[in-house]
Structures are given as C-alpha cells and as structure tokens.
C-alpha cells in the first residue's frame, strides 16, 4: 500500500452539529476546513482531550466535505462520553490527518466493504470515492442488534448495495457479517474492512478462502498516534511494502516478521501480509 503524502497539523475545530443515530452512538460534526480538504479515505485524527491528563483519542474521519468533517463514536467511557456531549459551538482541538488510508485503486471495480459497528465510520469516504469512479460497492454491515445499525441508508443513497447482519437476528442475517460475506458467494475484486479485531481476523480468513485480497483497517490503543512511541504495533511480513526497515533478527530471535506501527505504517494493511 503506498504511503500517502499527508500534511498533518493541529486543527482548532468547532462543533457544528451533532446527532445520535442510536442510543450511545454519536456523530459529531466539526467545522474544520483545512482538515476536511486534507483527509483521504481511511485516515484518522487524534482528538486532544478537553480536560487534559489522558492520551488523545484516535477516531476515524467519517465524513469530510467542504468545511466540515464528522466523527462517529460510541460513548463507552468518560472520554468518549465527554466528546459525545460537547455543546454546539464548543472548541475541539484535533491533530491529523494521520495514517495511510485505503489504497482504493488496488481494490478494483467490484468492492466489498465490511463494517463492524462504528468501524463503519472509516468506510464512508472510501465508498464515496469508489462509487464516484464507477466501481460497484457492496456494504456488508454487522452490529449487535438492529438498533445499533446506523446510517446504512447513507450508503444506500450513495449507490452502494447494503447487506446487514445482527448478532441477535433482529435485522438481516442472524449471525456474523463475515459469515454473510462468505455465504453470498459473490465475486469481488477486493475487500476493505474496518471493525473490531475478531471481525477483521474473520474477514482475513474469508478473503483467503474466496481468493480475494483484503485491506484491513486495524483498531488498537494509541498513545502518540504519530509513529513516535512504537506502542501500537502489529506483526507484518518482512516482504510487505509497508514493513519498516529492520535488520536481520538478532541471534535467538525466533520471530521472522517485523513490527509495524498501526498509526504510521497503517492503520490499513493487506490481510495476507499480517502476522497476528
């Protein structure tokens, strides 16, 4: 995956709109003209905590158009709840855009996007760009329950075919979205996925079985988010074009791969190159 030319910066943004498409899930719109212009599909930003004393929060950039970007978040802990309840007009500092983003050209013209929960957020910009260049886009979207499937209509309006799965069977396929992907037996030229890591591992297996290459956007706890601390690594084949330069293993080292930073070399990796 080619590293993208990006020019990250600190952005002082202002909360412009907010909605709660499902209980506990928020979409926060921000006035952020420079960031909106600089963001590529699959990139993320680090949100500086308004109260200090904890690491910035990494969030995929959901929408980026005109002067506005938005972030989708689940209000689980104190920090995400704080972000979800920011009043309109509140200031929020972010730094980004960060990470490599998806290599959309390499996905071909029949693309399956696989989203787990709010992993959906990293797939809207790819969907938009793929559809704009004439690709057919199939969104496979899984969540715990029907109420947690948000914004599927947004993808449909853009022209994507949407297939949903719920763990509890309240809507669509009952079970894992990755099983649904396998069962459709459709032909894809490429797969792009974002969601919790058990789902991504399943996507990797299904993709291998289907003989299709998949790009996975990995989730991990970040500290710096800019490649400075090596805290967010994943095992990656030495042969990967994304593998950081690393000398031959020292005597006694049994691992034949390297560690790549999810925030820097990633967050998007080719599934078949991961060693995890």
């Amino acid at each position: 995956m080619p590293a993208l030319e990006t020019s990250p910066a600190i952005h002082r943004t202002v909360v412009s709109d907010r909605r709660e498409p499902a209980p506990g899930i928020s979409v926060v719109g921000l006035y952020a003209p420079r960031l909106a212009g600089a963001t590529r599909p699959g990139q993320f930003a680090m949100v500086v905590p308004p109260g200090g004393e904890r690491a910035a929060t990494a969030l995929g950039i959901y929408e980026a158009q005109g002067d506005r970007i938005s972030l989708m978040l689940v209000a689980v802990g104190p920090r995400t709840r704080e972000l979800a309840t920011l009043p309109l007009g509140a200031q929020l500092d972010l730094f980004g855009p960060l990470g490599n983003g998806f290599d959309l050209a390499a996905l071909g013209d029949e693309v399956a996007l696989v989203a787990g929960g709010v992993g959906l957020a990293s797939l809207l910009l790819p969907a938009r760009e793929l559809l704009a260049r004439g690709a057919r886009v199939y969104l496979f979207y899984g969540a715990r329950t029907a109420g947690a499937l948000v914004d599927a209509d947004l993808f449909a309006e853009l022209g994507a075919r949407v297939y949903v799965a719920t763990d509890d069977g309240t809507l669509g396929w009952a079970g894992y979205v990755t099983d649904l992907l396998r069962e459709t037996a459709m032909h894809f030229s490429g797969i792009a996925a974002c969601g919790p890591s058990p789902m991504l591992r399943a996507v990797a297996r299904v993709a291998a079985d289907l003989g299709v290459r998949a790009q996975l956007s990995l989730e991990e706890t970040f500290a710096c988010g800019v490649g400075a601390c090596w805290g967010c690594v994943v095992g990656l084949s030495r042969e990967s074009a994304q593998a950081p330069r690393f000398p031959a293993p020292a005597p006694g080292e049994t691992r034949d791969y390297v560690h790549a930073r999810i925030c820097k070399e990633g967050p998007v990796f080719w599934a078949h190159e991961l060693r995890w």
Binding site: S7, P8, A9, I10, V48, P49, G52, E53, R54, A55, A56, D93, F95, E220, T221, F222, A223, C224, G225, V226, G227, A228, C229, W230, G231, C232, V233, V234, G235, R245, F246, P247, A248, P249, A250, P251, E253, R255, V258, H259, K264
Partner: protein, 318 residues
C-alpha cells in the same frame, strides 16, 4: 538590576545539564518522541531544550508482542520492550538525520550487561550528531535484566563507570522509581561519574482484562507513566535533590508549566515530557510559555533562581 534584566529581555528559562547549555529546560522523554520528526508538524522543535532519542541496544530487538499499551485513569501503561534496530543499523541508517534537529539531541543507551553499556555508549557518543548520552538503566519492560541495573547500587555504579570511561560527553543516568531508597542509588551514580540524573523512569504496573481473565499487556507487566505517577516522581526528585549535587532532569506526568514547576521547585534543573505529548503535542510550548510567565509575574530573572526553592534540604547544583 535583576528586575531590569527580566523586564528588558523577559525572564530566562535557560538551564545547564552537565556540559549542555539548553535555551529551554524541556527535554522530550526517551521512547516518547521518536527522533523528533514525528512531532515536527505540530511543534517548533527550535523551542524545546532537546530530544532524548529512543533507547538503543547492542543487538536488534523486535520488542514485546502486542498489546503494548493500556490507557489507565490519568495514566498509560506501556511495555514496548526496547524495540530498536541495534547499534550497527542505527549508526548506519538513523543517526545522520539527527544533525538537522534545531535542538540538543541526546542518545539513549540500554543494555543487559556492563559491557553492553560501555560498547553502545562508546560507539554512539563518538558521533557528532549526538550531544549527550542518557543511560537507561531502568527499563521495566525487558524481563528482570533491564531494570536490575537501576535497582542494585553495585550494578548502577558499574554501568555508570563503564559509560563514563568511554565518553567525555554529558552523561545522564536515568533512575528507576521502583526502589526502596532512590537517594542511595543516586549517590553511587554521582560518585561513578554521572553528570546528571533523569528522575524517574516508569513505575511498574499491570492491568487485567476481567472478561478474558488475562493480563492486558502482551508482556504481562508494564511501566506506568503520565499524570498518575506525578506525585511519585516529584517525591523522587525531592529525595534525590537532597542527596546529590549534579543536576536533575525531572519527569513523570508533566503536561503544563505548573506540573514542571513542582519538579523544579523540588530541585530539578530541567524537566522531561513524555506522555504529556500524547495528550497534546503542544505541551512543550505550553510548558515553556507557562514557565516564562510564572517567572515574569513574580519578577524573577531566571529559572535557576527557583530550582529547589521548595526543598529545604536541596543541596544545590555544583
């Protein structure tokens, strides 16, 4: 006179660590700042005192298996495991670019034997791009060996002496808070020839996932940093400042000038910011600006005038 000097040019936050004259008392913590380039888009590196580079070892190290990070209340647990390319590849590929940094560049050396410390220090310190050496004898994330040096006065002394013998550049030795008597370790390290002390490295800790009933870090245990350890670190500086006469680089949870001042008033001549950069990359600027206004508001000409001011047992810097 002092007042005039302060009002004409603004108060000075310059400091001196060994042979290093720093225009600002802010170092960026080892392992937290990459080589500086990662943060260059967000902060003017010319405004900081210096960067302490990621620790380097004799041989390449792939580092610990992930997960390597856990966010905790007001803190961060990490277990990176000294991932680095080893001194050979480091000298060949990485060191040349440090010459472009508009601030001091301090190499960090980690090891598993006294000989390691001497060997890596000698080779790294020989490079012009490196202004000083920090001896990391206190990494808690590489099994028992890494931290043993900072927890055993005899080993701390040997490692310091070995590094001292091979370089005339400023030698900073980084101490561990995971000891009963940090002042005693500080004394032997001073006697063994250290020019300065970094106080402190991370506090050992761990977190357990109650869903899986497993430790959350790939390495099981880790080192805690950030605001959560600040009071522990301030006390460590306080105790060390009463025991030695070499300058101290205080660190542990510094995010703003008030945090930094706690360390300085306890006896630190400089501070280091690690985890604070993760909260906000502007932290180095925030700290420097805040220190200047603290001094200006009190009409104090120089930061040096407040070093150790809260600490009646502060022995003064030689």
């Amino acid at each position: 006179m002092v007042e005039n000097a302060a009002s004409a040019t603004g108060p000075s936050i310059a400091t001196r660590i060994g042979k290093l004259d720093l225009p600002a008392p802010t170092l960026m913590g080892s392992g937290c700042y990459g080589s500086g380039e990662e943060y260059a888009p967000f902060v003017d590196l010319a405004g900081i005192g210096g960067i302490v580079l990621k620790s380097v070892t004799r041989f390449p190290r792939l580092g610990n298996a992930p997960p390597r990070l856990v966010a905790t209340p007001s803190g961060l647990l990490n277990a990176i495991g000294l991932q680095n390319p080893g001194i050979d590849a480091y000298l060949e590929n990485d060191v040349a670019k440090f010459a472009e940094r508009p601030c001091a560049v301090i190499g960090s050396v980690a090891g598993f034997s006294v000989d390691d410390y001497a060997y890596v220090t000698e080779r790294l310190a020989a490079r012009d791009e490196i202004d000083a050496i920090e001896l990391n004898i206190s990494c808690p994330n590489v099994g028992s060996e890494g931290e043993t040096f900072a927890c055993d006065p005899g080993l701390a002394e040997q490692a310091t002496r070995a590094a001292r013998r091979v370089t005339a550049k400023t030698l900073i030795v980084k101490l561990s808070p995971n000891v009963t008597d940090i002042a005693a370790i500080a004394r032997v390290v001073e006697a063994a020839g250290a020019d300065a002390l970094a106080v402190v490295n991370t506090v050992r800790g761990m977190a357990i996932d109650v869903e899986t009933a497993k430790p959350r870090l790939g390495n099981t245990t880790g080192g805690l940093s950030g605001a959560a350890i600040r009071p522990i670190a301030v006390l460590a500086v306080w105790e060390v400042a009463r025991a030695v006469k070499i300058p101290i680089v205080g660190q542990g949870g510094i995010e703003n000038a008030r945090d930094a001042l706690e360390f300085i008033l306890a006896g630190a001549s400089a501070v280091s910011i690690g985890t604070g950069n993760f909260t906000d990359p502007r932290a180095p600027q925030t700290v420097a600006d805040g220190l200047r206004s603290y001094l200006a508001e009190r009409r104090i000409a120089s930061l040096r005038d407040v070093v150790g001011k809260a600490n009646p047992g502060f022995a003064g810097v030689r």
